[in-house]
C-alpha cells in the first residue's frame, strides 16, 4: 500500500428536516497522505463542517444521516465501525478543532480538567499524570501551566482557541480536522493561532484538513486544496497548480474576489448570485445558474470529475469537452 492515510469515497450526507431534505454533502471524494495538509475551501453552507463531522461520525442525528459512501482511515472503513470502536478513534487518532472557541469549551470545567480528560480516556495514565500532561500541553500552546485551574470564561477568544488546540493535540492525533479555526478570532490573533497550529502539526507529523474560506490561509498552510460547492468537490489540486491555473469557473471566481491587501473582507462573495438552496439543488451542474460560461447543456448533464493535470481534477463540462466555455481564461 502507498502512504495513503485517509480516503473518502462518494460520501453523501443529508439532513432530513420538516422543510425538506438538505443535501449537504453530495458524493465527495478526497484523499490525504500522512503528514499532509488539505485545504477545504468554500462558502458558508457548502458542506464543509458536515464533511468534517462526517469523518468523526458526529453528525447530529436526527436530523443528519450519512446516506452512502466510505471513509477509509488506514484501511478501515470508519462507517462500519461500532460506536465503541469509533469512540476510541475520536480525540486519539482523529481530533477536531471547532469553529467557535467561545462556545467549544465546557463553562463549568477548568481548562486543565478538559485537557486532562482526553488524555485519561486514551492513554494509560492515572489522574495525576494526566493533570501534569495537561499542564505541559498548555505550556506548549503558549499558556502558563499555572492557569490549568482557570475556567474558560477567564480566557480571551484567542486563548480559548489555544486551549481547544491543546485538547485536540493532547493525544498526538494522526489527523487533525480544523474547522475554520481562526474565523472567529481577531485578525492579529489569527496569524498567531495559525502559526502555532502549523508548528505543532510539523512537530507531531499530523495530517490536517484545514477548513477555511480564506485562500490566503490556504496558500500559507496547505499542500493540497479541495474547492467545495453545494456539497461537491468542484476542483481538487495541489497548491501550486491551483494557484498557477485555477480551472473551475467557481475557483476562478474565488480568486477574482480576493481583496487587495488593504481591504478586509469577512466572507467570500466571489460570484454574483447566491448558493442554491440545499433543499432544492439545481439540475445538472450545481453551479450553472451562477456560471458566466454556462450553456444549455450545463443544466442537463451532471459533470464528471476530469483529470486536467497530475493530481488536478475538475468537475466542469468545459473540461470534458461537452461545453465550449467560450471566453474562459485557461492557459
Amino acid at each position: 500500500m502507498s502512504n495513503e492515510f485517509l480516503s473518502i469515497e462518494d460520501l453523501h450526507i443529508h439532513y432530513i428536516t420538516q422543510e425538506g431534505t438538505v443535501k449537504a454533502v453530495n458524493g465527495i471524494d478526497l484523499k490525504l497522505n500522512k503528514g499532509e495538509t488539505l485545504g477545504l475551501v468554500g462558502e458558508t453552507g457548502a458542506g464543509k463542517t458536515t464533511t468534517a463531522l462526517g469523518i468523526l461520525r458526529l453528525i447530529p442525528n436526527p436530523p443528519g444521516k450519512i446516506m452512502d459512501g466510505k471513509i477509509i482511515l488506514e484501511g478501515r472503513n470508519l462507517l462500519e465501525l461500532s460506536e465503541e470502536e469509533m469512540r476510541k478513534i475520536r480525540g486519539k487518532k482523529v481530533s477536531m478543532i471547532f469553529q467557535d472557541p467561545m462556545t467549544s469549551l465546557n463553562p463549568v470545567m477548568t481548562v486543565g480538567e478538559q485537557i486532562a480528560e482526553v488524555i485519561e480516556i486514551h492513554e494509560d495514565v492515572n489522574k495525576e499524570e494526566a493533570k501534569e500532561k495537561a499542564k505541559e500541553m498548555l505550556e506548549l500552546v503558549g499558556i502558563s501551566g499555572g492557569r490549568a485551574g482557570d475556567y474558560p470564561h477567564q480566557f480571551s477568544g484567542g486563548m480559548k482557541q489555544r486551549v481547544v488546540i491543546a485538547i485536540a493535540l493532547a493525544c498526538s492525533p494522526e489527523l487533525l480536522i480544523a474547522d475554520e479555526p481562526t474565523t472567529a478570532l481577531d485578525v492579529t490573533i489569527q496569524a498567531q493561532v495559525l502559526d502555532l497550529m502549523q508548528g505543532l502539526k510539523k512537530e507531531f507529523n499530523t495530517a490536517m484538513i484545514l477548513i477555511t474560506h480564506d485562500l490566503g490561509v490556504v496558500a500559507e498552510a496547505c499542500d493540497k486544496v479541495a474547492i467545495i460547492y453545494a456539497g461537491e468537490i468542484v476542483e481538487y489540486a495541489d497548491i501550486e497548480s491551483l494557484f498557477a491555473s485555477p480551472k473551475h469557473p467557481y475557483t476562478q471566481g474565488l480568486f477574482a474576489s480576493i481583496p487587495s491587501l488593504d481591504e478586509d473582507v469577512e466572507r467570500l462573495n466571489p460570484i454574483k448570485g447566491l448558493m442554491p438552496e440545499p433543499t432544492d439543488l439545481p439540475s445538472g451542474c450545481r453551479f450553472h445558474p451562477r456560471c458566466p460560461y454556462a450553456e444549455a447543456k450545463c443544466s442537463e448533464m451532471d459533470p464528471k470529475s476530469v483529470e486536467v493535470g497530475a493530481e488536478h481534477r475538475v468537475k466542469c463540462l468545459i473540461y470534458s469537452g461537452e461545453v465550449s466555455g467560450k471566453g474562459i481564461e485557461n492557459e
Binding site: 460506536e83 475520536r90 480525540g91 471547532f98 462556545t103 467549544s104 475556567y151 470564561h153 477567564q154
Partner: protein, 308 residues
C-alpha cells in the same frame, strides 16, 4: 462572597418592612375589631372601646404600624388572642412539622424529577419521552386538594393502608408528602428536560464527543452539570414555598404545620398569629433564595467570579 451574603442579608430589612406594611394594611382594612373578638359577643361598646384604647387600636394607622415595627425590633410581635402565647413561639412550634413535610416532598421531587427529565431529554420524541411528558403535565395540572382527597379515599378509606390525618408516625408522612411533592416532581421533570435539551445542542457537548468521551459521561458529566443550573433555581423556589407551609396539603391531612396554623388563625381572626406566620414565611423564603444563590456560585464558576 462574604460581602455579597452580607449585602443580601441587609436587603432582607426593606423586604421585611414592605411585607409587614402590606399585611398590616390589609388586616387594618378588614372589618371586625380584634377587641370585640377578644371580649366575645356579649361585650358592651364601652368595654370594646376601652380595650381598643388599651391595645392602641384607636391610634392612626401609621402610628399603629410604627409601634408594631418598634416592638418587632425588640422581638415582640404580640401574643395570640386565643392562646395568649407569644406568636413566634406558636409559629416555631409548628415549623418542625412543616420542615419535615417539605423535605420529604422535595426529596421525592428531586429523586424522581431529575432522572425522569434526563431520560426524557436523551430519548426525545420516543414513547418514554411522550409518556413522561404526559405524566408531568397531569402532575402540574392536578389540584392539590383533589389529589390529597383521592389518595385518602384510596389508601386510607378503601385499602386502609395509611393514616389520613395527624403526624405521629412516619406512616403519616407518606400521603401528604406525595400530595405535596407531585407538582414539584412534575415541574422539576419538565425543567430538567428542557434545560438538558438546550444543553446537549451546545458546542461543548460536541467537543466532549469529539474527545471520545463515552456517551454516558457526556450526559452525566458534561451536560448535566450545565443543565442543573436553572433546575437548582426551580428546586430552591419550590422548596422555599413548601417551607412556608403548604396550606392546602396541611389542611387536607390535618398536618400540624405553619400552613395549617395560618389558616386556622385566619378563620379565628387571630391577627397577631397571622402576621407572625406571614413574616415567618417571607423570611424563610428569602433565606432559601439566598442559599440557592450561594449554591449557584458553586455550580457555575462564571457566577462565582462575579462575586470576587
Amino acid at each position: 462572597m462574604h460581602k455579597y451574603v452580607l449585602k443580601r442579608l441587609l436587603l432582607l430589612i426593606p423586604v421585611m418592612l414592605g411585607v409587614t406594611f402590606i399585611v398590616f394594611g390589609i388586616m387594618h382594612l378588614t372589618p371586625g375589631s380584634p377587641a370585640r373578638l377578644k371580649l366575645g359577643e356579649k361585650a358592651t361598646p364601652e368595654q370594646i372601646a376601652a380595650l381598643e384604647h388599651e391595645m392602641g387600636l384607636d391610634k392612626p394607622f401609621i402610628i399603629q404600624y410604627g409601634n408594631f415595627v418598634k416592638n418587632g425590633l425588640k422581638g415582640d410581635f404580640g401574643r395570640s388572642y386565643l392562646s395568649n402565647k407569644p406568636v413566634f413561639e406558636e409559629v416555631l412550634d409548628r415549623f418542625p412539622a412543616t420542615l419535615k413535610l417539605a423535605v420529604a416532598a422535595m426529596t421525592i421531587a428531586v429523586v424522581i424529577g431529575i432522572p425522569a427529565g434526563i431520560i426524557s431529554a436523551t430519548k426525545q420524541y420516543t414513547l418514554v419521552d411522550s409518556v413522561t411528558m404526559v405524566l408531568a403535565l397531569i402532575g402540574v395540572s392536578m389540584p392539590v386538594f383533589w389529589l390529597g382527597l383521592m389518595l385518602i379515599l384510596i389508601f386510607s378509606v378503601n385499602l386502609g393502608w395509611l393514616p389520613s390525618s395527624g403526624a405521629s408516625t412516619w406512616m403519616h408522612l407518606i400521603l401528604p408528602s406525595i400530595t405535596l411533592g407531585l407538582s414539584s416532581t412534575a415541574i422539576i421533570t419538565r425543567m430538567t428536560r428542557s434545560s438538558m435539551l438546550e444543553v446537549i445542542r451546545q458546542d461543548y457537548i460536541r467537543t466532549a464527543r469529539a474527545k471520545g468521551v463515552p456517551e454516558r459521561k457526556v450526559i452525566n458529566k458534561h451536560a448535566l452539570r450545565n443543565a442543573l443550573i436553572p433546575v437548582v433555581t426551580v428546586i430552591g423556589l419550590q422548596f422555599g414555598s413548601l417551607l412556608g407551609g403548604a396550606v392546602l396539603t396541611e389542611s387536607v391531612f390535618s398536618w400540624p404545620g405553619v400552613g395549617k396554623l395560618m389558616i386556622d388563625s385566619i378563620k379565628k381572626q387571630d391577627i397577631p398569629v397571622v402576621m407572625a406566620s406571614i413574616i415567618f414565611i417571607a423570611i424563610t423564603f428569602s433565606i432559601v433564595n439566598l442559599a440557592v444563590d450561594i449554591l449557584y456560585a458553586f455550580i457555575d464558576p462564571r457566577i462565582k467570579s462575579q462575586y470576587q
